[in-house]
């Protein structure tokens, strides 16, 4: 083959690569760009390719001090924080036991912690809503926290267990040999070393709670309106600006976590996490 033919071939390969990556970039960022446009569109009528008028009117509306959105944001964050506290309180001892202690019926216990991931959660939410209705927990923040926590717990237990399993047992034994009691060893050696994994599991649970829709849809109505429910109502009501601004608020923590996740979680832990 001639040198010119070689060059042409190389260029066409470069062009094909650029085209492929450009297409993928459009597929990934096109929908997000469309959302961004809607968030800043004051007027956008068919068949305009771009909004006829840009502006911040709807942002002011969303962030009005006593507006629904601010209230929903506060509710969502409060619920997520309570969910994290609940999940960690239950998952840290469970994760430690799974990683370090001998357990009777270990196989059955592992199965119980795998099962919720492998089963569609819709029947669960539908029937929890019915149970909560009986005891007056429907439409309460506590009820929603319980639903989010039961959903996040499985992930939290797996990540916590992986985090504890990764702590070098020899360090614990050294501390014990130097005279530290079991509690002191746990508090000064095991817990600090497992902390990055536990923080990751807290962030996971926080995000899952913040983004949760189906459970809140059944259990939270009509009084607990979290950000996802607010977004859904705005979108179904045809108010795309409010829906898009709320969606952006939900996107920020998701994307932040996506960029950070590898610092906290190794790929093998992430693989254990599954979903």
């Amino acid at each position: 083959m001639t040198a010119a033919g070689n060059l042409a071939q190389r260029w066409s390969r470069h062009a094909a690569r650029a085209l492929a990556i450009g297409l993928l970039a459009f597929v990934i960022f096109g929908p997000l760009a469309n959302l961004l446009l809607w968030a800043f569109a004051e007027r956008w009528y068919f068949p305009g390719k771009l909004p006829q008028e840009f502006g911040l009117k709807f942002w002011l509306q969303v962030f009005q001090p006593r507006g629904n959105a601010v209230q929903s944001l506060v509710t969502s964050v409060w619920i997520a924080l309570l969910t994290v506290a609940f999940c960690l309180a239950v998952a840290v001892p469970a994760g430690y036991a799974l990683a370090r202690l001998k357990l009777p019926w270990r196989g059955a216990i592992l199965l119980v912690f795998l099962l919720p991931q492998a089963i569609p959660n819709l029947p669960i939410y539908v029937n929890i809503a019915r149970m909560f209705y009986e005891v007056g927990l429907n439409g309460t923040v506590f009820g929603v926290v319980l639903v989010h926590a039961s959903h996040g717990l499985v992930l939290a237990v797996w990540i916590a267990s992986a985090a504890f399993a990764a702590v070098d047992e020899q360090l614990e034994q050294a501390a014990r040999n130097l005279g530290a009691g079991p509690w002191q060893t746990f508090a000064t050696i095991t817990l600090p070393l497992a902390a990055p994994g536990l923080i990751a599991s807290a962030i996971f649970v926080f995000l899952e709670s913040l983004d949760e829709f189906t459970g809140t849809y059944f259990v939270g109505v009509p009084d607990v309106i979290t950000l996802p429910l607010l977004m859904f109502n705005a979108s179904m009501g045809g108010n795309y600006q409010i829906a898009s601004i709320t969606a952006l608020l939900l996107l920020i923590p998701s994307i932040g976590f996506m960029l950070l996740v590898e610092r906290f979680l190794k790929a093998d832990v992430l693989a254990m996490v599954g979903r």
């Binding site: 998952a91 119980v112 029937n127 983004d211 859904f232 790929a267």
Partner: protein, 276 residues
Amino acid sequence: MNRRWAGLLLISPALLVIAVFFLVPLALSLVTAFQAKGGGFTLAHFDKSFELYSTDMLFTVAIVLLSSALIAVVAIAIAGYLTLGENARMRSALRWLYRWPLFIPFIVTGQVMRTFLAKNGMLNHVLVGSGLLDPLAAQSVLDWRGIVIAFVWKQAPFVTLLLAGAMASIDIQHSEAARNLGAPRWRVLLEIVLPQVRGTLLVGVVLSFVTMLSVLSVPLMINPNSPTMMTVDVAYRISTHGDYAVANALCLVSLAFASLGAWVYLRHAVQQVART
């Protein structure tokens, strides 16, 4: 205290939470779906479910299977290029690019696609602007295609992440030997790399399959009218008719679809845990 029982004591709160908020509702679902008004056993709720919603059941299975297949193809292609691709800049661009939708919630995906795929959405504007589509032929993609696109957009990065991790950890000697013998890269991917990470691909696809079966927000926002997905029917039975019996029968049908995948996943996961 015996260490065995200490472990059980530490794990019991978590087990209790799962029992009360997972096993009890599941049992309640079973009972409700099979219970007649008077309290006896009946299959009437299932009869009614099949009578009213058999189209939606087929629609659901078709969408979820198609989405799973597309997710697998996309994940294999991207993870394969990340592992075997020879252009380093392209690899790092791809690695940076593919994972953006990873943690974006389904509800936001629904809203994003609702605007992007609409008749007046950016997809049509770009297709028309680049001359690929006649302006008069522009139509909304907010039907079954919209659901599939939303599912693949959201779930493919997750499976890709798992798969790329697994591919990175396998022994590269075989692939390199095959490359040296002149095998094209796509054959190395399909015949040498892929068989070694089959388990990971399976787990990723099955988890996505189960997840998609129970997503309510995406079909509700993209295609709420009949034929639609069973999750929408369940929500409708409850919010409009307060009909928990048929809703639970529908839930059990989707559970049956999922259980096939769940069985595969649990078997693999238990093996995996037993090995470590």
